[in-house]
Amino acid sequence: MNEKDKELLYQTYLEGITKETQVPIIELEDIDFVLPEDVEFTFPEFQPHTEQLLGKMIVLETDEYLIDCIVVNKTIDNEYLAYKTSPFTVFASEFDIVFKTDMGKYLLETGNYFYLTEEEIKEAIELDYLQPSNLESLKQELRKEHLVDENRNTDLESPENKFLLMEYNITLGLRCRHSDPKIWVPQIEIQYRSNPANNVKMAAADMEIAKFAFRLVSTDLFKVHKYAYFADYYTLYKDDCHNLILAPDDNLIDQKAEIRCGDIVVFKGKLPKQIVLANFIPLLPKQAQDFLDITLKVIKD
């Protein structure tokens, strides 16, 4: 598929996620009747969708967007884990699982998940349903590791990456309302992971500075600076599992804020005590800050 077709497809996708269109209803006299004379419609014996919430494929309506997802699990807190899905399988990437039901083919975005209440699921429009045995297969597929494609297109302006970015953008509110928000940073997931060397230079000079500093400062102090970066409203640090954590200043916890990486909003909502920006990433906090250009802005009501 050429770039022009991909862009057209992306524009088509964009129209589909918009909740309201301002297009007036077409008048009856303007409708063309295009069907063959001998058209016959037959339908299978319909199996009503079960009352069971797991396996339901639904469309959620948020203030701005229509969000397709599949309900996969129930948590101990009586929340339901749902994954973002889309019928646009032509945009499937290594982060996705493509699966089929009797009535459609979908991609599931393995990193784009959030939690829903029973009420939200019941209020949503139902699109399809995945039988329990197929849901189990899907869950097994979810447990597998999805390797990063080293040859992937890392241009965030390409239609396939714009699709991915928008898919995460429309679920931002759902992902960020959880006490442990699921953050997705495109610069890390799309660019850095596919080619770390090209994206962040672990310059030899930097390493020398670090070694020099090590000789000058006490071990404890060096450790702090190596594993933490102090910004105006937050601290970036690495935990023992090499996860990159953003900890807002104490006075900002529970305040509404927006965190951006460059121009991209990666968090919007009430600030928890800490946010995992990326799992297992071999970047020092300062390097991560420089690479991601992180900013935190408090939103005043």
């Binding site: 077409i26 319909f46 009503p48």
Partner: protein
């Protein structure tokens, strides 16, 4: 479908002359009646016109998607009539399993108007999904999505599907029509005659074809023609669902136009 008047003329008469049933609520209630009883779509012309009109309204609410589907289908040689058949069929198929939920909503909402609005919104969103799926299917087919599917984590892709679901898949339907064209153009009439015998033989009235062939020969001919059909599918990169839909939907028409031959032997003129 009652064929007393042509469909297009019937539709024109309905919107030009009919006093009732053209307001939005009537159209919505027509859709509701079809969801409760899908056969109404084929047995009641007025209901059919109303549902058709409503689906066109859904389509026009998302002009870019509608136009993308039209352009793509046109460029790839898809028949517009078949695109509409697939859309209507697919929409009803996707909405009907929700009947119970829609009924609950109907009871919960105070007025018929409110339920109509809810049904309109639901119909519009599901129609949009059908359009997106069709666009995706046509594009995937164009770029040989098999390459993608081999690469990414997939499961359940080659699952067996009931024919009634397949009939409204836009690419499968298009390919089944192409298969019919290929068979009409490339196969000999005596071969089509065997294929038709295979089809008709399962009917209660039996077949008028191959009357002069022995039972053993007919068995062998059936075997041979099935192999040929399979090869034709393979040579054109069509999957077996295309073959199944072709047999269900399009072979009958070919057989109606194929004179019954008493034997497979080559005769003058065939």
């Amino acid at each position: 479908m009652n064929k007393d008047t042509s469909l297009i003329q019937g539709y024109k008469n309905w919107y030009n002359n009919s006093e009732d049933g053209k307001d939005i609520l009537s159209l919505e209630m027509a859709l509701w009646s079809v969801l409760c009883e899908p056969n109404l779509l084929s047995s009641n012309k007025i209901v059919f016109y109303q549902v058709y009109a409503l689906i066109q309204m859904f389509l026009h609410k998302r002009p870019s998607q509608h136009s993308m589907l039209k352009n793509l289908a046109y460029k790839e040689g898809y028949n517009t009539e078949d695109t509409h058949i697939c859309l209507i069929g697919r929409l009803i198929m996707k909405l009907t399993p929700n009947l119970k939920k829609l009924e609950e909503k109907k009871n919960q909402l105070k007025s018929e108007e409110d339920f109509g609005k809810y049904l309109f919104k639901t119909g519009e969103i599901v129609t949009m999904h059908c359009v997106e799926e069709f666009i995706n299917d046509i594009v995937s087919n164009k770029i040989e999505s098999i390459m993608i599917e081999q690469y990414y984590g997939n499961y359940n892709i080659s699952k067996y599907q009931d024919l009634s679901y397949i009939q409204y898949e836009i690419v499968t339907r298009h390919q089944a029509i192409l298969l019919a064209e290929i068979i009409k153009e490339e196969w000999k009439i005596r071969e089509i005659n065997v294929l038709c015998h295979d089809l008709e033989n399962n009917c209660e009235s039996g077949s008028n074809r191959l009357k002069n062939e022995s039972r053993d020969n007919i068995y062998k001919l059936h075997e041979r023609i099935r192999t040929k059909l399979k090869l034709t599918l393979e040579n054109n990169n069509f999957d077996e669902n295309v073959g199944r839909l072709f047999i269900k939907e399009f072979l009958k028409k070919i057989c109606q136009n194929c004179p019954p031959l008493p034997t497979y032997k080559e005769e003058k003129g065939y």
